[in-house]
Amino acid sequence: MMNLLPTFVAAPLGAAFLMLLVSRISRKLADLLGNLCTFYLLAAAVALYFLRAPFQVVTYQMGGWAAPIGINLVLDGLSQFLLLTVNLIAFLATLYSISYMERYTAKDKYYTLFMLMVAGMNGVVLTGDFFNLYVFLEIAAVASYALVAFGTEAEELEASFKYLILGTVASTFILFAIAVIYGLTGTLNMADAALAFPQGAAVARAFIITLFIMGFGMKSAMVPFHAWLPDAHPSAPAPISAMLSGVLIKALGVYAVVRILYNVLGMTPQLSYMLMVLGAVSMLVGVLLAIGQWDLKRLLAYHSISQIGYVILGIGLATPLGIMGGLFHLFNHALFKSLLFLNAGAIEYTIGTRDLKQMGGLSRKMPVTAATSLFASMSIAGIPPFNGFWSKLFIIIACVQAGRLWFALAAVIGSLLTLASFLKFQKYAFFEKIKQGFEGIKDVPLAMAFSMLALALLCLGIGIAYPYAAEYLVNPAVVAVGRGLGYSKTVLGGF
């Protein structure tokens, strides 16, 4: 089981490096290699759930060197949970892009960059070392900058440049914070730094935390730093927007904040209150900005900001139920938000426009897309049988239990506004009569339909079987986060 961990990074890297050589032989090989690799990753991520004993923390020493000397990979509940989310959406996105990406040139380079983005995210989620986190964060970020500008249209280039500049400034802040931590503790290993952190350095600790919040806040598009998201996500190709909104901002942003604040620097009441305020503000601002949008993908992008607000509010509560709600919503949001972006891609693939006004009555012509997007809209709005409802419910109950009634109220209002916005999407896109030019359209090819169906069934399945999902899927992650500073003892102790 131990040798499985490095393959999460080595396999996509190998596939990416091979991709350019393989595609010289034949274009179909690029598709095959890409899908094969993501399928292997998904299978390995699912296998981890069976191989890892509950509450066991697996450490893998790179190059055979012990923890503080070399770099070690750490697999605990939280990393395992994120790995499953990342690789599930990655597999379905590569499946979807077999036919969707025919519209674009240089498909082999698309697969190369996609594999590198997945390798970067897997690297970030698995590593137990600060500087390594920065390097793999940079891989995933640079790959996503290039993928956002993949279509080389005017808006895409401008959106990608803005995203690139904000991303690089955020990375520089993160590196600056890592340098200060190295100055204070003399080590880069997360567990070792947590133990060696000087107690007296309160100002330095606050300085580091602000730098991290600014850096990872930009990566996860929290409100004060969300400027790039509404431009970058819509202009990316549909499977890439699904990956960006579904997992990239979570694996790079939310996971890193949770790991560093809970397991390395330690959570304090003021910090948790600040996180909750950031979450609540993102929640409301995202939804309010989304109301006036008519471009489908921009509407979905603004909703990503608001849903990330839910996740951060949940995790910021620092109560077991709150963390459970936040992490569960993180998984659910990965499912239904990527499904919504895939639907938007399917609509754009057939009728070529993203503007809600020009759509209408597509449900008769595109039954699969209509049904799956109905599922997704129901779950994002939090309608009972679907998964979104349960995670939002957990968060709201956790807010009430923690006595934070205002935050619970904000969560409910946000949910209602989301429902209104998605009813608008359903009405304009699917239920009106068909516009004159679009009678001849037919539904999307098999590969795209299959991945959308799979996501829709997952949304419904997890919604119905939520007690099992919460128990086996999310609870190990909640235990890992709840371990707090115990993380370093288990990592360094448990060789």
Binding site: K109, L116, G120, F207
Partner: protein, 179 residues
Amino acid sequence: MLELNLLLIFMAVGAIIAVENHNLLSSVIAVGAVGFGLCIVFLLLGAPDLAITQLVVEILALIILIRATLAKSVPETYRGRELHSYVITVVFLVAVLAASFFAFQSLPKFGYPIMSVAQTYIEEGLQRTGATNLVTSVILDFRAYDTLGEATVLFTAIVGAITVLRLKGRKKLSEEDKA
């Protein structure tokens, strides 16, 4: 370390010139000067590896930057700056400076680093990796995983730059099936 302080002041002045100059090409040259100043500072701080790499990377970055500005060195359009965004930025910068001043109080004094991990690299570096250049032994053996990640970042940026600069991004609807 008087020369170190002098060089740092030189770099700060060079950076200000690079930012405030109106002509694109001369601000690119000023950034080059800051980069070469940094290269000399690395030499002073006992880091020859970094000096070579910084020097060579600086040359390449300059070539690329000049390549971007050469054919298009249109003078920067200078209009009055909106005052309030300017004031907010300056206030924020001063706040960061003050915060870092207080935060650095608890850092070890310049010249006396805590070398908890690095001490083992120095003592056991030679027998356990066989490389006399300790920095290379750290890069390619103790923390080789970092360097794999780093080589991948360069690979990603290169493939990304090539994809962004390809001539036709999307195929027209008509020729989609034949491709």
